[in-house]
Symmetry: C2
Subunit: 191 residues, 2 copies
């Protein structure tokens, strides 16, 4: 298949669309849109979030030692995009975007109630990467939307309805159809 | 919205489905399925890939100093799932899965021809996280499917057709519809 070279750049996807919430010492909360978020360990469960060192969120997380990662559902696309456009130093983004903040179980940072999945993290480490900082967060609690659970305890992704971010081309997409089951479909090729 | 607590775990998504390719000193190539992959810096462009330290791919990347990340399109779901089920120590996974390996421009690791996006990385660092290792790869070249480019030079995500992985619930999904444009739609909330 013929390809076009893009050089060194950051065209890469799909990625999650999330809102990272943090709380300052004075109680003030900031909510920042982030797609550079992903799992990095299972021992213990750990998320990595990378962001520019000049961000208010970076200052608040490193000072407070915690953050939450809140999954953005499709209907919250405009609110999430707004939370990536302005700084919490200038506006109370959660208020402007109409987001409801509720207390977490185990960390100071709040949860975004409208998110179908909330991940509570304790800051466990930091890696310097040029102008960016990869913050490592040990996952201490996860909350999932009750109505997305089927009777057998599994989660229905269509009800969670996560907004997918396509980096480089800067687009938000919904999920389409389930195309397979992991750790199962590939067995067809086992010899 | 009512939520159910999951405790500390790794239920988190959407994530990319990728094939990480690496080459041993003897020329042998291994291809491993990975969804714990994401951007971590723009200065310089850098990807992070986290994997268990016992993986053949970990040994080959740290010995050779390079890897490639190859985006899995929807039609390759079964092949990709297979490449996550078995070890390259036991089978020549690319051959069994019918994947075509072609030389990269700047690194020893090969590209998977069937992938609509290929990212060439030079190993730039490593972070120990329990039993896992986060490998930091400086992006030195990206290749994108020629036929996915529109006349104006933008990329059509529907033609790239990436397979989205939903971690925790272990499902593969396609993209649905474009729901928004980043760094633009949120301006509706600017005051």
């Amino acid at each position: 298949m013929s390809k076009r070279r893009l050089g060194p750049c950051i065209t890469f996807f799909p990625q999650p669309t999330t809102l990272v919430a943090s709380r300052a010492a004075d109680g003030r909360v900031n909510v920042m849109t982030a797609s550079w978020v992903g799992l990095v360990s299972k021992t213990p469960p750990t998320l990595g979030v990378s962001l520019h060192h000049g961000r208010l969120t970076y200052a608040q997380i490193t000072a407070s030692g915690s953050f939450t990662v809140n999954l953005v559902p499709v209907p919250l696309a405009v609110a999430a995009d707004y939370c990536g456009l302005v700084s919490g130093r200038d506006q109370d983004k959660a208020a402007v975007a109409g987001l409801t903040l509720v207390p977490a179980d185990l960390v100071a940072a709040p949860l975004v109630a409208e998110a179908p999945l909330n991940v509570e993290c304790r800051l466990a480490g930091e890696v310097e990467l040029g102008d960016y900082r990869l913050l490592l967060g040990e996952i201490v609690q996860i909350h999932a939307l009750e109505k997305a659970f089927r009777a057998d305890g599994t989660l229905d992704a269509a009800i969670l309805n996560p907004l997918v971010y396509l980096g480089g081309i800067r687009e938000y997409w919904s999920l389409g159809e389930r195309k397979g089951v992991a750790y199962k479909d590939g067995k067809a090729l086992l010899r």
